[in-house]
Subunit: 192 residues, 2 copies
DNA sequence: AATTCATTTTAACAAATGATAATGGAACTC
DNA sequence: GAGTTCCATTATCATTTGTTAAAATGAATT
């Protein structure tokens, strides 16, 4: 499958957009490759791109006062990273995003994308849907944290990303679940 | 101050809107009164309104499997409740919203508001700003939970809503902070 | 196949948090 | 103003979770 087709698939999976409008997006996109472990967006640095994950998986995290990474979200293949505006404050990134495997990513300058939004209703609707989905994910996560135990959250995470425990370091997963890697290991034993 | 002026103030504090457009909103609004303790939006019930808090304070919560209320957000005077679409799934409310004091609230049918959005660009921009602010709050809360201890989260909450501990039951605040009311009491003693 | 390296699991202990119930204090009622 | 009610605080104890370090596992390399 070509990169372009993959990008168009991602767009259409979120909001049906005419091929003409899709082409506006894809033609302004670049393909980038990141090696596993690379932080391609860094907290307190400038970054003005929107990203589509074509291959691999990445995760957003922040570093707490103890210096530990706390993962906020994971972005698997065929997903779109949290939109630029939602992860940026006063021009600087609020979070770091780390490639958790080798990755192939489609990127587009956020200002260019903003222009496309203004001039093209379909693209605007697509972007608003991305934003609403982002909010929906946050609400779901918020409710999950409020109503579920760590064990239940792990079970839920496994339903969404079953392979995650096999490909990324467990301390990252533990931080996402709000527990230590030792507790994660105890849970894994428990719910084998 | 009349209710109408208060509503217009709330609108303008979020996004500058012409008085003509503001009037479209206010003229479609009703004033409602809720007694302290009343759940005016209930989980798994239908609710299709947008709400502006004119007087008093309310909070959204979910009930976990143990039957405990876990508070998600607080909405003080002059704030707007999370928009209908963000707290509703398949027509049913995801959360319950409880009046934590006696309240006066401005409400507008969400479908009516949706129509105003479609026909009026300013109102649409206002609504999109509300949505973006909602997302921003969730991101802030998410990052706060990831990077702060319960004690630091309490300090932050006090900066935002200093009077909260004096007017609502501490178990509600504790659930918001992710701790028990006993632990909250210990923290209060510590950071007196 | 042996070695090395990274990572998860396990163990032992310490610390923090939760559960339960008793105590204390403030507001309200009669 | 005594009694009642509702909460927050405190105390005690049990449980959970975290910390640290050692052991086991598994993948990669020579």
């Amino acid at each position: 499958m070509t990169d372009q087709i993959k990008i168009e698939e991602i767009i259409n999976s979120i909001y049906q957009v005419s091929s003409a409008s899709r082409a506006k997006i894809t033609s302004a996109m670049e393909i980038e490759f990141f090696e596993m472990g690379f932080d391609f967006i860094s907290v307190n640095k400038k970054n003005i791109k929107e990203y589509f994950v074509l291959e691999g998986i990445c995760g957003s995290y922040i570093t707490n006062p103890d210096g530990d990474k706390v993962f906020i979200s994971f972005f698997p293949e065929k997903s779109i990273l949290s939109p630029f505006t939602t992860r940026t404050s006063k021009g600087f990134s609020l979070i770091t995003i780390k490639a958790l495997t080798n990755m192939k990513i489609g990127s587009i300058n956020a200002e260019v994308f903003e222009k496309l939004m203004v001039e093209d209703l379909e693209i605007r609707e697509f972007a608003n849907t991305v934003l609403r989905n982002e909010l929906k994910k946050k609400v779901e996560k918020e409710i999950g944290f409020a109503s579920l135990s760590a064990k239940e959250r792990l079970i839920k995470l496994r339903q969404e990303l079953p392979y995650l425990e096999n490909i990324i370091p467990h301390p990252y997963i533990a931080s996402y679940l709000g527990i230590t890697n030792v507790s994660l290991s105890r849970l894994r034993k428990e719910i084998r």
